[in-house]
């Protein structure tokens, strides 16, 4: 009860501030009146004086009463806030710079770290994702391959394997045509056994996953679809469960939706039972090592090394049992599923994380510097207030309010900034940043960045206040008055902060420079062909009508003829897997005179091309010849290889006339895997296949008529690639209207090669521009810091400068004194920064191409830039110093 009474009272006081004052007045007046009547002692008039004496100071007791009521704190807080706004209004530049700096630091850190955290660190939507691995077979020579389904089935039956894993499952991948209404689209499909979902450890977003019943031959075709497919093709309709869709012209029922971000393998948009997979020959063949995944879940307490050793015996047994397929493939390798999904994004994200950390540090240093500057500028004001009776606690609290307010403003603005930045980032294509579409501002990261800035603000805001009030206020007053060097330690601290800022800025600038240099060098790597004006069109004719190789080959020839007739088209060629599209297929190669084991890592890219391909691409022949029209008409034993392959097997010799055996590689065909004998007739210059920063793989070209691929990439050289689409689409459908193409140029089947290549540099460009942006911010902040310190130093040394001038120093002497000071500070920063930059560059080596961490150019440019910045920053203070009037300066103010 009593507590309630007390709180009710407090609430009344707080809410009825005016009423409270009035009541207190009334009550005291009443008291005094009564008492003065009481003290009359027979005199005529009430004894007011005596009553007052007995009461004591009305003002004091009122104040005490208010203090009891807790109103004093409220008043002071109000005062602090008023002070704050007055103070900030008086120096808006300070407030704006401080708040913006903090906002920048907090915003950048929060957005970048949220993304890094989400993409790299946060668990995938799989239970215990760290234990999920992709399994590869490994040859003792070091080459790795995907295991075939029969091998995986043997593994699954092995007790040692069962002891090491909570499950191991095979996934067959394929491209299927999804028909939905009028639209047809090729999507990635996975054929899985029901244990796949348990091993993956995901939960259906909607409906259910596939179960043992779905495997039965009598069961209707069931499909689980990806979240992205559900949203993009079916509008996120919750009634999707039970809906009939058509996969490769076979109806299937949607039974569940895979949650966002859980698509594994990443190419997959739909999951169906492996037992219903039509192309059974592709899963029963032990020699088939492509378009599949085998994943496993490691048992708790078993690491990948132990798991690998547990598979030694079964692999040895299989090698003995099936020498043709398994000889020497006696060990396994694991790749964490996490790494497979994230790919090579890690170096870039770590680079950004490091860069943004540097920006946050720099922002903190800058704000600290500003606050210190402000505190010293106000040391006299504080001393006066202290002398006039403001308690130390009171002054500290006022500065505290100011610092916290700045930090809060900065924080709120920074949060807004982070939200905007993260929302922008979500729109990035996932090719640039995987899993980014689910990212959100991370509360923990925000809290850390916020705390860092508040801590800085508090340290740098309050420390001077404590110092100012601890020092005898008299000394402070005198210091302020004379303008002599009384706060040497403080200016030293501030100069060190600026040096640190310069060091951090240098690190970022050098980092950006190294990335730029790498980018320049990567982009300058010759492609091996000329991408200008080149477009590619992927055509997949329906197997029902073009299932026979001869029919497909005839169609391809007609398509090329039709395209050649399109105005503006200069050349037309074809290949099955075009470079820079991330696709390709390997064939084992056996070279005459070399044992096949020596071709251990000897799997080479297998390309089927037309005779016109070389000319269309503007590739060049190194030795020998390219395919002729005759080679296409009657394909025989003529192969052409790239330089890398030539150097691998015939270093310093001519490969022309050498015999090799490769294998048919189109998995859908009955003759898959059959050997192809041939003679090398030519060597062409390397073409980069994946990206310019990855060395080309060995490659072998065969006439497209030798093995007719079920689909084809038409390569067209045009005068204007971007305008070519409509005419090309018309030409393709004029050959056969059923060769469906999307109606816009953004469709997957149509690519402008220049853009594809530019996209392959996208990640580098992205990292480079972000770090470059950070570096620009850093440079600006350091310039502000430098200006502040130097200007303040000049202010502090007015008298000294005056004396120097009186003793005959010229304007020039004085100016160089000031500029020299600035350069000294910058030099310290540069030395520190070079060490830091070198160390940092070693950490981002993964992002560098043909550029060492100590590549001199970025360092030299950066140092010059920083020297210029410090000169510019000290120009105004130096001018002011050189124009000081000696007499006025010495006299002081």
């Amino acid at each position: 009860m009593s507590r309630l009474d007390g709180w009710r009272h407090r609430l009344r006081v707080l809410l009825g501030r005016e009423g409270y004052e009035r009541n207190l007045d009334d009550e005291i007046r009443f008291h005094l009146e009564l008492d003065s009547k009481q003290q009359r002692d027979g005199r005529e008039r009430p004894d007011v004086m005596s009553a007052r004496r007995r009461f004591g100071s009305v003002a004091y007791h009122k104040e005490e009463t208010r203090r009891m009521a807790g109103l004093d704190l409220l008043d002071q807080a109000g005062q602090d806030v008023r002070h704050l706004f007055r103070g900030l209004r008086r120096s808006p530049a300070f407030a704006v710079v401080a708040v913006l700096t903090l906002a920048l630091g907090i915003g950048l850190t929060t957005s970048v770290m949220s993304i890094v955290d989400h993409v790299l660190l946060q668990s995938l939507p799989f239970r215990d994702a760290g234990r999920l691995v992709t399994v590869f077979e490994r040859q003792d020579g070091g080459a790795a391959r995907l295991p075939s389904y029969p091998t995986v089935q043997d593994w699954q039956r092995d007790p040692a394997v069962r002891a090491a894993f909570d499950g191991l499952t095979f996934i067959r991948g394929d491209g299927v045509v999804l028909a939905n209404g009028d639209s047809r689209e090729t999507i990635g499909a996975s054929y899985v056994t029901p244990d796949f979902f348990a091993i993956l450890g995901a939960r259906p977003e909607l409906g259910r996953f596939l179960g043992p019943d779905d495997e039965l031959a009598s069961a209707p075709d069931a499909a689980v679809i990806a979240h992205s497919l559900w949203v993009e093709k079916f509008g996120g309709d919750p009634r999707i469960i039970g809906r009939r869709i058509s996969i490769d012209s076979v109806p299937a029922t949607v039974v569940g939706v895979m949650p966002a971000g859980a698509s594994y393998p990443t190419f997959s948009s739909v999951w169906s039972p492996l037992s219903h997979y039509k192309k059974t020959d592709q899963i029963t063949r032990r020699g088939l090592h492509a378009d599949s995944r085998t994943i496993a879940r490691l048992k708790v307490g078993i690491d990948s090394a132990r798991a690998a050793s547990s598979m030694r015996s079964i692999e040895a047994r299989l090698a003995a049992e099936y020498p043709a397929e398994q000889a020497r493939w006696t060990s396994v390798a694991f790749l964490p599923v996490r790494s497979e999904i994230l790919g090579n994004i890690q170096p870039m994200l770590m680079t950004l994380a490091g860069a943004v950390g540097v920006v946050l540090l720099l922002a903190c240093a800058n704000v600290g510097n500003l606050l210190l500057a402000r505190a010293s500028a106000r040391s006299r004001e504080l001393a006066v207030r202290s002398a006039l009776g403001a308690s130390r606690g009171r002054i500290v609290r006022q500065l505290f309010t100011e610092s916290v307010a700045l930090a809060l403003f900065g924080g709120v603005l920074g949060t807004a900034f982070a939200v905007v930045a993260v929302n922008l980032a979500r729109k990035l294509p996932s090719s640039r940043l995987p899993r980014v579409e689910e990212v959100a501002v991370d509360a923990r990261v925000l809290a850390v960045a916020f705390s860092a800035s508040i801590l800085t603000a508090l340290l740098c805001g309050i420390w001077p206040a404590v110092r100012a009030t601890r020092a005898s206020s008299g000394a402070s007053l005198r210091v302020g008055a004379s303008g002599s060097v009384g706060t040497r330690s403080e200016s030293k601290l501030r100069r060190s902060l600026v040096a640190v800022q310069f060091a951090l800025a240098l690190m970022l600038l050098v980092g950006a420079g190294l990335l730029l240099e790498s980018f320049r060098r990567v982009a300058a790597v010759p492609l091996g062909f000329d991408p200008r004006g080149l477009v590619t069109v992927r055509v997949a004719p329906p197997a029902s009508r073009y299932g026979k190789p001869e029919g497909a080959a005839a169609l391809y020839a007609r398509l090329m003829d039709a395209l050649r007739a399109v105005p503006g088209v200069q050349d037309v060629g074809l290949i099955q897997h075009f470079p820079f599209t991330g696709s390709g297929i390997y064939t084992p190669i056996k070279v005459d005179g070399l044992a096949s084991q020596d071709s251990a890592s000897g799997e080479v890219f297998y390309r089927t091309v037309s005779d016109t391909y070389l000319k269309t691409m503007k590739m060049s022949v190194v030795t020998g010849r390219w395919f002729s029209a005759d080679d296409i008409r009657s394909p025989g034993g003529s192969f052409i290889i790239n330089e890398t392959l030539a150097k691998r097997y015939w270093p310093g010799q001519s490969p022309i006339g050498r015999r090799v055996v490769i294998h048919r590689s189109s998995q859908g065909r009955a003759d898959f895997g059959q050997p192809l004998d041939g003679t090398i007739v030519g060597v062409v210059a390397d073409v980069h296949q994946a990206s310019q920063d990855v060395a080309p793989n060995p490659e072998i070209y065969v006439p497209y008529t030798l093995e007719v691929w079920p689909w084809v990439t038409l390569v067209v050289r045009t005068r204007d690639a971007t305008k070519a689409f409509p005419a090309i689409a018309r030409a393709v459908t004029s050959v056969d209207p059923s060769l469906w193409l999307h109606n816009d140029a953004t469709a997957a089947g149509f690519r402008v090669v220049d853009e594809t290549i530019s996209q392959s540099l996208e990640q580098r460009r992205f990292a480079m521009s972000l770090v470059g942006g950070f570096a620009a911010c850093a440079l600006l902040l350091s310039a502000i810091g430098m200006y502040g310190v130097i200007a303040y130093g000049v202010e502090q040394r007015r008298r000294e400068i005056g004396v120097r001038k009186a003793l005959g120093a010229t304007d020039r002497n004085v100016a160089s004194l000031v500029v020299g000071e600035s350069l000294r500070v910058a030099a310290v920063g540069v030395v520190l920064g070079c060490v830091g930059a070198w160390a940092g560059a070693r950490l981002i080596r993964g992002m560098l191409y043909d550029t060492g961490p100590a590549d001199p150019l970025p360092y030299v440019v950066t140092i010059v830039v920083l020297a210029v910045v410090s000169l510019v920053a000290s120009y105004v203070p130096a001018r002011r110093a050189s124009r000081l009037d000696a007499t006025i300066a010495i006299r002081g103010d």
């Binding site: 009593s2 007390g6 009272h9 009550e27 009443f30 008291h31 008492d35 009461f55 007791h61 009891m68």
Partner: protein, 112 residues
């Protein structure tokens, strides 16, 4: 801070105790409380009457008393204070606390 200590009552908390004790007589306004304390302590505890009001505020906050505006017999507006149940409990505790303190003071005094 130093200024205020000289104006405080002798033993900290004594005034609060006296106020609570006074209010056991019934609801009273500030002046009446002051008068009563003065009489009660026979002018031994001389405090400025004004310090009664911070003490009352303190008691209000702690919920030991409540206040209400009312009229005096002469028809004037005055603020009346009433002790609460927890105020009475507190009074009991403070009196025994006070006795102990006095005992300790006496012992020290005798030894000197």
């Amino acid at each position: 801070m130093a200024k205020s200590s000289s104006r405080r009552e002798l033993v900290p908390g004594t005034l609060d105790m006296l106020v609570l004790d006074t209010l056991t007589l019934g609801s009273l306004h500030g002046y009446a409380i002051a008068q009563h304390i003065e009489k009660l302590s026979e002018d031994v505890l001389r405090v400025e009457q004004g310090s009664l009001y911070p003490a009352l505020e303190r008691l209000l906050r702690r919920g030991f008393v409540t206040s209400k505006w009312g009229e005096t017999p002469t028809g004037r507006r005055a603020r009346y204070y009433t002790i609460t149940a927890s105020g009475r409990k507190q009074l009991g505790e403070e009196i025994s606390e006070f006795d102990r303190a006095m005992l300790a003071i006496n012992r020290v005094m005798r030894r000197v």
